[in-house]
């Protein structure tokens, strides 16, 4: 897939996240001083003002915090797949860490592969990785 889909423009703050997905890991930024996670990634910890951070790999497990189902008008590459879902995933290690993604039927399946009527807030989901370009691997989500 992936022709015409929007690719992230990776910046200095977010680069370690995208390095992680290329290796099949869901890495999140954690303060080296106070050990709190933060997202989106940024240079300074808002709780202790440390600029030291590390990027541990997480379990990749979470729950559906919310979801939407997009219908046209959309950009062409997305309109082809509409209606498709987007989900916000609350991660098990810290439920205030929430990632936008898609719930799909299985690794590699398209973003319209799950019937939206079956999606429920609170259901457990598991990360899978989808290479969408030479450099970019997107995390997506499946039912365990």
């Amino acid at each position: 897939m992936s022709d015409g889909i929007l690719l992230p423009v990776v910046d200095e703050d977010g680069a370690p996240f995208w390095e992680g997905t290329r290796l099949g890991e869901l890495r999140m930024q954690r303060c080296s001083e106070c050990a709190r996670f933060r997202f989106p990634p940024r240079p300074m910890c808002p709780w202790c003002r440390s600029t030291a951070s590390e990027w541990p790999a997480l379990s990749g497990r979470g729950i559906v915090w919310s979801f939407a189902v997009s219908h046209p008008p959309l950009l062409p590459a997305y309109a082809e797949l509409a209606p498709y879902n987007t989900v916000v995933v609350a991660l098990d290690e810290d439920p205030s860490l929430r990632l936008v993604g898609n719930l799909i039927a299985a690794a590699g399946a398209p973003i319209n592969s799950v019937d939206p009527a079956t999606i429920e807030i609170g259901e457990p989901i598991q990360v899978v990785f989808d290479r969408v370009s030479d450099d970019i691997v997107l995390p997506r989500w499946t039912r365990p």
Binding site: L6, G14, S66, S70, Y84, T86, S96, P116
Partner: protein
Amino acid sequence: MTNSIKDRTAIVGIGQTPFAKNLDGSEKRLACEAIVAALDDAGIDASEVDALASYTMEVTEEVEIAKNIGAGDVTYFSQIGYGGGAGCATIGHLAMAVATGQAEVGVAWRSRKRGSGGRPWANTVAQLPTPAQWTRPWGLLRPSDEIALLTRRYMHEYGATRDHLANVALACRAHANRNPGAMMFERTLTRDQYMSARWISEPLCLFDNCLETDGALACVIVSAERARDCRQPPVYIHSFGQGLPSQHHTMVNYWSDDPLGAPARACARRLWAGADFGPAEVKVAQIYDAFTSLIPLSLEGYGFCERGEGGPFTDDGAIELGGRLPVNTSGGGLSEAYVHGFNLINEGVRQMRGTSTAQVEGADTCLVTAGEGVPTSAMLLRK
């Protein structure tokens, strides 16, 4: 509070172009037409304008406005960010400038060809850098998609329903049906039509989304003393606030401890602290409505009801003319025009003048708010 701006400035002129899906003329020309109309309304010559304020998203800069309308030396100018969140702040910044003697005649405006000029979300070059790398690749493309995720969660946590959202859409439409200047003046809307409308981003349907409009509006602000000599009765700026909540993320507020804690809450604290009255004394409100679900959030944030009660608040015609708190009496962004919320400001002024097409009897106080879900602003107007 001896240094308060309370009632020390007033809006004395309002102006606007027609609203339509496609207007002739550039945004620059429309802006100048609206500004000159507002100055005529006030009875103030454009050469006296010495303060200008607008949105960072405004394409016509101050130097262009000043040399088109023939302003004199401009000694205060300000642009406020975050899209629709800027609305009331354009007025508030001018009120602060005039109250502190930095300027004497302020003009705020917004001109936008959002009807014919293309959709900002379709510009993929502009939207991909931070923080869009965390949302766009998965197909979260439009403001409607971003707010749909918060709306679904809001409905889940508090039991709000599509009927509550329909209450908002129908109230705005009923008010627009009384306003000959509204884009939806001649188009009625029923609950059945709402419930069977096509989806845009579930749980938001077509009628949960604002209009796409070409148009421009402007306001003139002077001191309370000068206002008494103007052509129109003064509408006093009683209180003003801005709000950028702790750990807030614009539009995609999924990453804070309290994603449904609306920016209105931060703004409201400052707004009410500067006022002589509270929510119970507000007779009419113009509340930012790019999406229907923003209205319950703002009703809660500005203290008209408890958290989670914004949906039920809209029941039984409470936000329609004749109800407890008529909202968006010209039709709002959903049914009059979507010009980044500036039409809400002009309608607030008309309510205080007694000239609205959906006039609330005895209205002497009005809340006007700006974009919800983004760093925002609000003000209280009074007669």
